[in-house]
Amino acid sequence: MTLHSTPKPQTAPGPLLQVRGLEKRYGSRIGCTDVSFDLFPGEVMGIVGESGSGKSTLLNCLAGHLTPDCGQVIFDTRTAGPCDTVTMGEPERRMLSRTDWAFVHQNPRDGLRMGVSAGGNVGERLMAVGARHYGNIRDHALDWLSRVEIAAERIDDRPSAFSGGMQQRLQIARNLVTGPRLVFMDEPTGGLDVSVQARLLDLLRGLVRRMGLSAVIVTHDLAVVRLLADRLMVMKDGRVVEAGLTDQVLDDPQHGYTQLLVSSVLQV
């Protein structure tokens, strides 16, 4: 089942991402509030909860798509060390989001350029950070397409000609091509049938382990976090109600809502 990686390698100095007292309100309503956690290098954090519990709001605040009302999101940058991404300048934040960060959308159409070929989609981030050699960009794209199990001859096809599962894999390739250290995933397996889901999860698990990625995965599918996540946060009404190791939370849920969530999973 879940592979327990050591949350803190001996040599690593500190967490990759520190979240402190994060809050986002929509008017008087709460999007998410009082969220704090640390994410260490190589660790995968799952966030589960029902629809409207603030999972996606939280993820968008972490990834800089939404501006939180208060709190800190401190990321350990390569050059300047730990920086608060909420207060850093927009150029730096956008630079982070195309180098060290990746964001996998639930709907691949949100994360892909549908009018641009698969190769162009994978190459975009390379070109955004200054790659100007067509041959090299294409080699990179081919390499990444093979890593996500897309045939090389599909490189010049547009994503609209791909199946849903292939589109999602293409989106992952496009995000990981610049070697990010932190991946945000919003329901990466949503809308896929179970056999395609299983292959995608297998692929994701392999990539995360091999590249030593840290990831924050938002999902309502407990099987996904069981397979991928080292640690788990359960959210309800914008608040974290329970947090801990994945197996511990899922096998011995303490909070009433978590117990309800775990017992709601259909047993086949």
């Binding site: 641009v116 162009g120 070109m127 955004a128 950070v129 050699h133």
Partner: protein, 311 residues
């Protein structure tokens, strides 16, 4: 129409200057002085920040959008009674767009007009840069349909503005990548994106990429007006303009691989003209002034006869 009519008939008629402050139906060069002032401010800002798209309050002009309303407004704001105006459309002085805009300024400004590139002080152009080198003191006004080079890749205006301000131009290369992936080479042949002074990526209006090298280090002032999109941008004289490309697919200014059939020029940009139903065709200079000047000098091409005027 205007109170004064001037017999400007393609010949230079200097000295026949309309008094500006009279009880006439139209102000000099159609636009009122307040509007011209507003446009001139935008032009100055554009010249101060080469390649930056300056918003301006584009006016309704007595011609449809797409016929050069942006260029006409810029020309109107630049014209003085002493100016000599040349208008070209795809290089030609005698096509519809050129003729109607030239007539417009003859009637509303009474300025002298010419077809000679070297004599003109203001040249309004649609989609070409004259073959003859421009000199200091000349103004070249471009008509621009869509000023935003990133538009077809990124439809959101808020996002493209941010991309310009943060210099995020990777997307422009995605377009060129797609060209090579699909056609084996950069197939974009007009409106080829350029980078100005190492900063702003700019759409040079739909000029053929053959003309792109002439944008750079040009002695003339180059002004770009987009009427429908309400944007003005500019290149001051001697500005560095670089066409975007890949290291292994460098930019190439291309033209039809022929000589002009009328004047024999090997270096001018050519139009292909179908001349019969049997597949016969000829190539002629798109710049009519350049071609006729060469023929007057005695150059004769494959199908031309000395001094003959071919429409």
């Amino acid at each position: 129409m205007s109170a004064q009519t001037h017999p400007a008939s393609g010949q230079i008629a200097q000295g026949q200057i309309a008094p500006i402050h009279t009880d006439q139906a139209y102000n000099f060069a159609y636009l009122d002085e307040e509007t011209k002032r507003m446009i001139r401010r935008a032009l100055l800002k554009g010249l101060a920040v080469p390649g930056y798209q300056v918003p301006f309050a584009s006016r309704e002009m007595p011609m449809p959008y797409g016929w050069g309303t942006g260029g006409v407004q810029v020309t109107a704001a630049c014209l003085t009674p002493d100016d000599v105006l040349k208008v070209i459309d795809q290089g030609a002085d005698d096509t519809t767009n050129a003729v109607s805009i030239r007539k417009f300024f003859q009637r509303t400004a009474g300025v002298a007009t010419t077809e000679q590139t070297t004599v003109a002080t203001v040249i309004q152009t649609r989609h070409r840069i004259p073959e003859t080198d421009l000199s200091e003191g000349q103004i070249l006004v471009y008509q621009v349909p869509i000023p935003e080079p990133l538009r077809f890749l990124e439809p959101r205006e808020t996002e493209t503005r941010k991309m310009h301000s943060l210099e995020e131009y990777g997307l422009m290369h995605v377009r060129l990548y797609e060209d090579i992936a699909r056609h084996g080479q950069i197939a974009t042949s007009y409106a080829y994106p350029v980078k100005v002074e190492g900063r702003y990526v700019m759409d040079p209006s739909p000029i053929p990429k053959f003309d792109n090298p002439k944008l750079s280090q040009n002695a003339a002032i180059q002004l770009f007006g987009a009427g429908r999109e309400q944007r003005i941008y500019a290149l001051p004289p001697y500005t560095d303009v670089v066409s975007l490309d890949f290291e292994d697919h460098p930019f190439q200014a291309s033209k039809a691989d022929h000589a002009c059939d009328l004047c024999g020029s090997n270096t001018a940009y050519l139009d292909e003209v179908i001349i019969d139903d049997a597949g016969g065709r000829m190539f002629v200079c798109s710049d009519t002034d350049y071609c006729s000047t060469r023929r007057a000098q005695g150059h004769v091409g494959r199908l031309g006869t000395a001094q003959e005027h071919v429409a």
